[in-house]
């Protein structure tokens, strides 16, 4: 077996050092009735690299890939062009096959990357500090809600209707077990989000207001206004950013007053990957430092006075605090954070702004083209790279029909909100710098055919 270096001669020599007659003897502590006498049912013996590659290639071929068709899907996962450098760098074995940097003397590479990543995230979000990443945007969103509860000692979170429904479901699952109350609602297919209605829900029990920016329909809420209202009532504003590229052209949530900013970092460096692994981003005000969930990297000096980096403030974490930890998290999304950081380094502020402008341009062109299709109405008055449309009939079937014409045209709101009949004819459409004029023309022509 190509991954196992021991030879039978090695095994014999080692067994004689140990004083055992066979490897099976080393399992003497396993009760006889618990030992598996036969091989795992149905699993063939070891296979060549070629055979496994062929098997996996067959499975891979049985998918419609985003790059092979006109593609307009978003809703929390975006297809941007990732420079070749990113994947080459993250495959360096010293990054790929390293562990969590618990021994900082021989992990300065990972640690410096995390320190740079934290700084990039904090600057992008407009927050004082950021952590070394969480699992993904949805879990980061829940962690922020839980943290707001710890900070304010209150138990009711108000979530705007514009928060991604999977994020809401994730929070709902957790809240069931922690006893937090979540005030949630479905979005309404209107041109702008109803910020005033959201503000009206804030009361003296509210720990936080959670607002997605841009929201699930691509609309852009007025964070400054909501922040002022939340903070006036002693609550925190949590901003959720599922498309960080938007911040290349939109004001940062921190600069608009958000206390905690969380997000999904997938659209920079990570790729679609059918939903994971992704990258949870988390930034907040410095005064909440000791309530932050997950890993933090900090600057310090070594015994020679040289600058170096370590994981720090670990007294918040489970391996020290056990049942009193701020969270049970024992990992971050290290390699995805590296990919994000490299992509961001290649872009720089001006490159990020360019990428954002080109994505916005593609979305404008798509919206204009769709608005010309009979029966289609563009909902948004403002948007970044994603917007909602209404269609004449249930969008779920239309999306499937478009796919049959080799166009991945959008995401039906019926898939995201199966219980909300008012949203059934809605669809969200996203574009990025990858979107071409030909893609847009193909979408329009396929949609005309489907609606005819």
């Amino acid at each position: 077996m190509r991954y196992l270096p021991l030879t039978d001669a090695d095994r014999s020599a080692m067994l004689s050092v140990i004083g055992a007659g066979s490897i099976d003897e080393l399992f003497a502590d396993v009760p006889a009735e618990a030992r598996l006498a036969v091989p795992i049912a149905g699993l063939p013996n070891h296979a060549t690299e070629l055979a496994v590659e062929r098997h996996m290639a067959r499975l891979s071929a049985n998918n419609t890939t985003a790059g092979s068709v006109p593609f307009f899907l978003g809703a929390g996962a975006y297809r941007h062009h990732v420079p070749a450098t990113v994947d080459h760098m993250i495959q360096r074995g010293e990054f790929l096959t390293a562990y969590t940097p618990y021994q900082p003397e021989i992990a300065q590479g990972t640690l410096q990357v995390l320190f740079e990543f934290q700084t990039q995230v904090a600057r992008l979000f407009g927050t004082d500090v950021a952590n070394a990443s969480l699992y993904d945007g949805s879990t980061a969103c829940w962690e922020a809600i839980a943290m707001a509860g710890r900070v304010t000692k209150r138990g009711k979170a108000v979530l705007s209707g514009g928060v991604h429904p999977h994020y809401v479901e994730t929070a709902r699952t957790m809240a069931k077990f922690t006893g937090d109350v979540l005030d949630t609602s479905a979005p309404v297919l209107e041109a702008t989000p109803d910020d005033d209605a959201l503000i009206a829900k804030i009361d003296a029990e509210t720990s936080c207001v959670v607002v997605q920016y841009p929201d699930i329909l691509g609309r852009i809420p007025d964070l400054a206004k909501i922040a002022a209202a939340a903070q006036g009532a002693g609550a925190l504003l949590i901003a959720v950013v599922t498309e960080p590229v938007a911040l290349g052209v939109l004001q940062s949530p921190g600069s608009l007053g958000a206390d905690i900013v969380v997000g999904e970092g997938q659209s920079l460096g990570v790729g679609l990957q059918f939903g994971g692994p992704y990258l949870g981003l988390f930034g907040c005000r410095e005064k909440y430092l000791r309530q932050i969930p997950g890993r933090l990297c900090g600057e310090t000096v070594d015994a020679d006075g040289k600058r170096g980096f370590v994981l720090t403030l670990s007294t918040r974490e489970q391996h020290i605090r056990r049942e009193k930890a701020t969270s049970n998290i024992c990992t971050n999304s290290g390699l995805c954070a590296l990919a994000f950081s490299i992509h961001m380094t290649l872009l720089g502020g001006s490159g990020l702004a360019d990428m954002a402008k080109l994505s916005h341009l593609a979305a404008r062109k798509t919206a204009a083209a769709l608005a010309g299709v009979p029966g289609v109405t563009v909902v948004n008055s403002h948007y970044f790279n994603e917007f909602a449309v209404t269609l004449p009939t249930d969008a779920r079937q239309i999306v499937r029909d478009l796919a049959d014409r080799q166009v991945l045209g959008g995401i039906s709101l019926g898939r995201l909100y199966p219980q909300e009949t008012a949203l059934a004819n809605g669809m969200v459409v996203a574009a990025t710098e990858c979107t071409t004029d030909e893609d847009i023309a193909a979408l329009v022509s396929a949609l005309k055919e489907v609606l005819a």
Binding site: D29, V52, L59, I106, G109, T110, T300, E323, C330, H382
Partner: protein, 517 residues
């Protein structure tokens, strides 16, 4: 091209210059290269990506939240970027460089086929919300991996979406809560052995349970009598690691499981150490109700400097109905059906909810499936056999110079546990660990499990050769002798790494988490 390293030696340092022999202006030491921070190298107007002209793009549809200036993020050209990250990478230890004996973490070789497979476009370039009929191959991977995880563990079902081991623990405990609630039998205590990973009590508390510790016996296993005596109508379940964190098999697990079930509770098994028994023991046969599998340990998806992980949870028949959404299941016609919120009402009505957006860690599933198929039934059995053989070889090659607290009782499983007993006064496990760095190794897990003083937990894994182990054993013997003899140089180790010991107290007292100009 690179900025001058601000931490380098300068003539002006005089007597304050670092005392490490020959000084260099750059503080580089030949191939050991210092690297400034990105923020000292780049600026926001530099970029390593070319775009079409963007001047003149109409931004009015952004509305009033548009920003006036580009974000303050430094950029670098492509060659500078490649050099920055390549230089940083060389300051890391990694499995690719050598043995990485971090106990309980299973740092084994990461096959490169798995990297290639994960990047196949049908897995890497598909959106999680594409119409289901356009992603049958991707769903097929999930289902095929789910099938083998169930077979390897002898369980009934599997929740695939948890994103790491601790997330899997949470999933398992939430299944237990949901099952108890469905029975109208709310219980709020989880029993956790004192040797458990810190995530166990943290997870139980996070899931709203009260945590009670169960002591260990002198031979390093759960005190079965104490545990069974504590069972009662308030105990929701137990969390047991098997093999446990002392590197020993919990012989009584089936007895414990039967007692827990008889008392109306459930058994959660922390599967972090599944690598020791894969292909030989099925936790389902021992009465386990839920167990997470760290795909990044047993099935060798890369650790990536601290993630991403992946922690699918296999479930017993009793807990399977409560597993989270989304859920995939093969249909009678062979197609693979994805059950999301839309279908859950009819097809998976007791699901406790959703643990994350989308479908979990697809990029890890592809790698783990390729790993399982590459090894096959015979290979996986050899994996656990060689992992246990290597650990016992290390144990028996060192137990004359290092105290092995449970060594006398018999073989260990996949990791060998030592203590600091016998070191000269003032010498600690940490000193030996830091000495290993100078010898060119990553240290073992230290000070864990907590039940052993100055614990050193060595997990060589099955992907080490005998020659490699012999060299490691030689280094360990040398260090053990130095610690016993009180070699002062050991107390200030490492001397040869890119950094000496770092001031962690300073980092925590005055946190600097972001770069400031």
């Amino acid at each position: 091209m690179n900025a001058i390293n601000p931490t380098g030696w300068r003539p002006s340092m005089g007597e304050n210059a670092p005392d490490n022999g020959i000084q260099t202006f750059t503080c580089n030491r030949a191939l050991q290269l210092e690297e400034p921070l990105l923020f000292e190298l780049g600026n926001a107007d530099r970029s390593g990506v070319d775009f079409p002209e963007t001047d003149g793009i109409d931004l009015s549809a952004l509305g009033p939240m548009a920003r006036a200036e580009r974000p303050d993020l430094p950029g670098l050209s492509e060659p500078e970027t490649v050099r920055h990250y390549t230089r940083l990478s060389r300051q890391n230890y990694a499995i690719d460089l050598g043995l990485f004996p971090l106990g309980s973490c299973t740092m084994k070789h990461n096959p490169r086929l798995d990297e290639k497979v994960a990047r196949m476009p049908g897995f890497a370039d598909v959106h999680p919300l594409q119409p289901v009929h356009t992603v049958q191959g991707a769903l097929g991977v999930i289902n095929e991996l789910a099938h083998w995880l169930i077979e390897l563990t002898g369980m009934h079902g599997v929740a695939m979406t948890p994103k790491a081991g601790a997330h899997g623990e949470l999933c398992g405990l939430l299944c237990i809560r949901a099952a108890l609630e469905a029975k109208g039998d709310p219980r709020d205590v989880i029993l956790v052995p004192e040797s458990a990973h810190g995530t166990n009590p943290a997870t139980a508390a996070f899931a709203g349970f009260k945590v009670e510790n169960i002591p260990a016996t002198p031979d390093g296993r759960v005190d079965t009598a104490a545990l069974t005596a504590r069972l009662g109508p308030d105990v929701a379940g137990v969390m047991i690691t098997n093999p446990n964190t002392c590197g020993l098999f919990e012989r009584d697990l089936k007895i414990i499981a039967d007692a827990v079930h008889a008392a109306g509770g459930y058994v959660y098994c922390d599967g972090a150490n599944f690598n020791a028994i894969v292909g030989r023991v099925r936790p389902g046969d021992l009465g386990v109700d839920a167990m997470h599998i760290n795909l990044h340990k047993t099935f060798s998806t890369p650790h990536g400097g601290g993630g991403p992980g992946s922690g699918p949870v296999v479930l017993s028949e009793a807990l399977s109905p409560f597993g989270p959404l989304p859920f995939t299941a093969r249909q009678a016609d062979g197609s693979i059906k994805l059950i999301e919120e839309e279908q859950a009402h009819e097809e998976h009505p007791h699901a406790f909810g959703r643990m994350c957006a989308f479908h979990g860690q697809m990029g890890m599933y592809t790698r783990a499936l390729a790993y399982i198929l590459s090894h096959g039934a015979d290979g996986l059995r050899q994996v656990s056999g060689d992992a246990v053989l290597n650990a016992n070889y290390v144990l028996r090659s060192l137990d004359d110079v290092l105290d092995a607290p449970f060594g006398a009782a018999g073989p260990c499983m996949h990791e060998a546990l030592f203590s600091d007993d016998g070191f000269a006064p003032g010498f600690s496990t940490n000193d030996l660990a830091k000495g290993l760095i100078d010898e060119g190794y990553h240290p073992m897990t230290v000070y864990f499990p907590l039940v052993v003083h100055g614990a050193m937990l060595v997990e060589p894994t099955e992907t080490e050769s005998k020659a490699g182990l012999d060299q490691f054993i030689g280094a360990m013997r040398s260090l053990a002798e130095r610690a016993r003899a009180g070699d002062e140089l050991l107390k200030s180790a490492p001397h040869l790494a890119p950094r000496r010991r770092l001031d962690e107290t300073l980092a925590a007292r005055k946190p600097k988490l972001v770069y400031k100009d």
